[in-house]
Symmetry: C3
Subunit: 132 residues, 3 copies
């Protein structure tokens, strides 16, 4: 298992981590297999989406912030960040990629992103690669 | 592959299964690898979120129940549980964890949960561990 | 890694790919392990849900189309398909299945689906199987 850190600057933010994931796959020496990118925090998540036009990330976060308001009638959690926990389960803290020819297989427009839902913070991401 | 059962008591409920997952990883003998926790039902899912304050789970379910109402104009499915199927695809029936030092890698506040969306029922969860 | 294509006919559509996934697992020769079904597009996703009653898929898509409207105040992405990208991250582009006895482990009512969120198009799906 390899680990790297991500420093976020906003409460809600997507930070591209494609280079870090590529580096971890390369360092593993695995040529054909599977790669798991995992967020050990309960208010952060991992996704894969377009990394060409930053407006895609803008619109994604706009929608998530609208659909999961910070304050909501009936919320009980005393820390006031239930919205962050909800977004984490909506996006998911784990992303499994395919490894082929020693590289993570990503489409032409795909990048891997750490999703911050309760920043700014210093976050940890784990990568595990299995195969041969 | 290992299998265990979960008995749910509510229509919508999150049941922590961290101990069962730890047990399955331990029994596999794998020290470094990957663990897949899989729900073979179409109205149940698996997630990872905070297990310290039960109010987090309360607020998660409150939001999911609000955003996916049981009755909705245009629904056709005769069993009347389309909301359960929608929640299942939103959360996802499969969760991949990293295994290191013979244990699933979980953050300080993370627990693994079976999400019941059409209970109460007796449910099955499968765990597969690969690695060496 | 194996690859197959899916031809979609609607802008939003779920196409069952269970047979293709079974074929890929069979061709891999792996008896016990894990299978990753991966969508390399940023406006498509993979899920597992009921394949018996097509009304379930109808209701799923109805809800997703309602909850993520195509036009929304504040959207910036010039291609006008931010809704497609949002749905992709909601459902997720990667699905990990368990392989046992040389077959993907699926519940009685489960099928694997490619989710088209910006069709119609010709799409690619990758499958990677690891294990022994």
């Amino acid at each position: 298992m390899q680990t790297f850190t991500v420093t976020t600057r906003e409460r809600n933010e997507m930070v591209e981590i494609t280079d870090e994931v590529r580096g971890a796959v390369g360092a593993s020496g695995v040529r054909e297999g599977i790669c798991v990118v995992y967020c050990p925090h309960t208010t952060g998540a991992i996704t894969v989406n377009e990394n060409a036009d930053p407006d895609v990330v803008h619109d994604l976060m706009l929608w998530y912030n609208r659909i999961v308001p910070k304050q909501q009638a009936g919320f009980r959690h005393g820390e006031g960040n239930s919205d962050s926990h909800i977004k984490t389960t909506l996006v998911g803290p784990s992303m499994t990629l395919i490894v082929a020819d020693g590289q993570p297989v990503l489409g032409r427009w795909q990048g891997v992103f750490f999703c911050e839902f309760d920043g700014p913070r210093r976050r940890t991401v784990h990568v595990q690669v299995v195969g041969g």
